[in-house]
Amino acid sequence: MKKKLVHLTVNEEYHELYISPRKLLVEILRDELDLTGTKRGCSTGSCGACTILLDGAAVKSCSVLAVQVDGAKVTTVEGLADGAGLTPLQLSFLDHGAFQCGFCTSGMLMSATAFLNEDPVSEDIKKGIQGNICRCTGYNSILRAIRAVAEGKYEDEGR
C-alpha cells in the first residue's frame, strides 16, 4: 500500500507526515506524534475517549482516516492549555472531581470544550457529552463542571 503525504497542524504545530492510508487519525496522533493524551476505548466509535477537535469541531479520531484530514487543524488535550496553565474547564474539572480513573477525561474535555465554544445553553450539556462514555463518575460531576464554566464562574481564571 502506497504511503501518502499528509499535512497536519496539531496543537498549532505543523507536521508533514508520510503515512499509510489505513492509519486512523488516533493512531497517527498517538504513535507518530506521541500525543498519548488521546485514548482509545473501543473500536466501534462508541466511547468517545479519542475525541479531538478537528477544525474546531469535536470528532472521534478513531473514526477518521488520517489521510482524509490532510490540511486540517487538530487540537488534542495536550493543546488545550499553554505550558503549565490550565483552561477554565480543566480547573472546573479539578474543583468538581469530574474524573476518576481519568481514561475518558481527555475525550470528555474535548467534547466539552467544543460544546462551550458553540455558545451553550446549560440544559443541553448532557447532549454535548452524550457521545462520551465515563464508567467511573456517573457523569453528574462532569455536568456540574461544564455548567459552572458555561455559567461564567471561571471567567477570570485559566490562561
Binding site: P21, A58, K60, L65, Q68, S111, G131
Partner: protein
C-alpha cells in the same frame, strides 16, 4: 485490523465518478466513514480501492427554495443539517431527528448521503425523509437519475446504487398546506440506534376534517425502511379519530416484518410499532389540523 487498500481522493463529482468507473470491480466510497470504518476494522469490508469523496466541496450544500423545496448535497454533514436555520424553520422535524442521531462527534463528521447509502434499515433519516416524499439523485459517468427514496432501499444494507453510481443529492419537496410530519425513535439509551422508529406525515383535506394523504414509515421494522401501506390506506379519505388511529397502529404492527435480536423480540418490536404509530400519527394529525408547517415543533 484495516486491510490494505489503495486510497484515492476526489475533489469534484466528475473526478469521483471517473474513479468509480475505473475501479468498477472493487471499490468502496468513503465520505464521513462513520459506519464504513467500523466494518473495515472488523474486516467485514476490505475493498481494493477506497474512493474518498469527503473533499468534494460541490456535494456539500443545503439549498432551500420556497417553491422548489430543499436540496441537500450528499456530502453534507448531519451537523450542518442540524444547525441550518433554513431547515430549522421549514423542516424542524429534520432537526429533531438529527439531534437524536448518534453523537455530536459522529454528526460532525458523518454525512447524510453516507448514512442513506449504507442501507441500514435502522437509519435515522430514512423513515422521515420517505415520509416527506424525498427523492435522491444518483449519478454516474453517463448521467443522472432520480429515484424516490423509498425505492432506493432494496434489502438489508443493499441500495439501488449500481456499480459506478454515486448518491449526490437528496431532495425534499415543499411542505403542503395543512400537512405535518412527526417522528419518534424508540431506544433505551438516547441517541443509540432505534429499536424501532416511526415517521408519519399527514395531509388534511381542504375542509380540515378528512385525511387527504398519509404516510407511515417504519425504521428497523423490516429489512428496509418500510411504508405501512395498508395502514396508510385506512386513513385516506377518513375522518381521523383516536379509535381509527388505534386500528391504524394495529395494522402497521401487522404489516411490518421485524426480526428478533438481542435488543428486542419480534413481538416486542411489533408492540412498539403499534404504540409509536398511534402516538406519532396523533401528533402529526394535531399539527396538520392547525398548521401548514411540516414538522414536530411549532414556531
Amino acid at each position: 485490523m484495516i486491510h490494505n487498500f489503495n486510497y484515492h481522493r476526489a475533489t469534484t463529482v466528475q473526478e469521483s465518478l471517473s474513479l468509480l468507473e475505473k475501479f468498477k470491480e472493487d471499490y468502496k466510497i468513503i465520505c464521513g466513514g462513520q459506519s464504513l470504518l467500523i466494518l473495515m476494522r472488523q474486516g467485514l469490508v476490505a475493498p481494493e480501492n477506497l474512493v474518498d469523496i469527503k473533499s468534494v466541496k460541490e456535494m456539500s450544500y443545503i439549498d432551500y427554495d420556497p417553491k422548489k423545496g430543499l436540496k441537500i448535497g450528499a456530502a453534507t454533514t448531519h451537523r450542518e443539517i442540524e444547525k441550518s436555520p433554513e431547515i430549522k424553520k421549514n423542516y424542524p422535524v429534520l432537526v429533531e431527528m438529527e439531534e437524536n442521531l448518534a453523537s455530536v462527534q459522529t454528526r460532525n463528521w458523518g454525512t447524510i448521503g453516507g448514512n442513506l447509502a449504507h442501507g441500514d434499515p435502522a437509519s435515522d433519516p430514512a423513515p422521515i425523509l420517505i415520509a416527506m416524499t424525498a427523492t435522491v439523485k444518483l449519478a454516474n459517468t453517463n448521467g443522472e437519475r432520480s429515484l424516490l427514496l423509498e425505492d432506493f432501499f432494496v434489502d438489508i444494507f443493499e441500495t439501488a446504487l449500481e456499480e459506478g453510481e454515486l448518491l449526490i443529492e437528496i431532495q425534499v419537496p415543499v411542505p403542503l398546506k395543512k400537512s405535518a410530519v412527526a417522528y419518534e425513535k424508540f431506544n433505551i439509551i438516547k441517541n443509540h440506534q432505534g429499536i424501532v422508529s416511526v415517521a408519519a406525515s399527514i395531509t388534511m383535506a381542504e375542509d380540515g376534517i378528512g385525511c387527504k394523504d398519509a404516510r407511515i414509515v417504519l425504521g428497523a421494522a423490516a429489512a428496509t425502511p418500510l411504508r405501512a401501506g395498508e395502514a396508510e390506506q385506512m386513513l385516506i379519505g377518513k375522518k381521523i379519530d383516536t379509535k381509527l388511529l388505534a386500528s391504524v397502529g394495529k395494522k402497521a404492527s401487522e404489516e411490518c416484518d421485524p426480526v428478533s435480536d438481542i435488543h428486542a423480540t419480534e413481538t416486542y418490536r411489533r408492540a412498539l410499532v403499534k404504540a409509536l404509530t398511534i402516538k406519532i400519527m396523533k401528533k402529526a394529525w394535531e399539527q396538520a389540523k392547525t398548521s401548514g408547517r411540516v414538522g414536530g415543533k411549532h414556531t
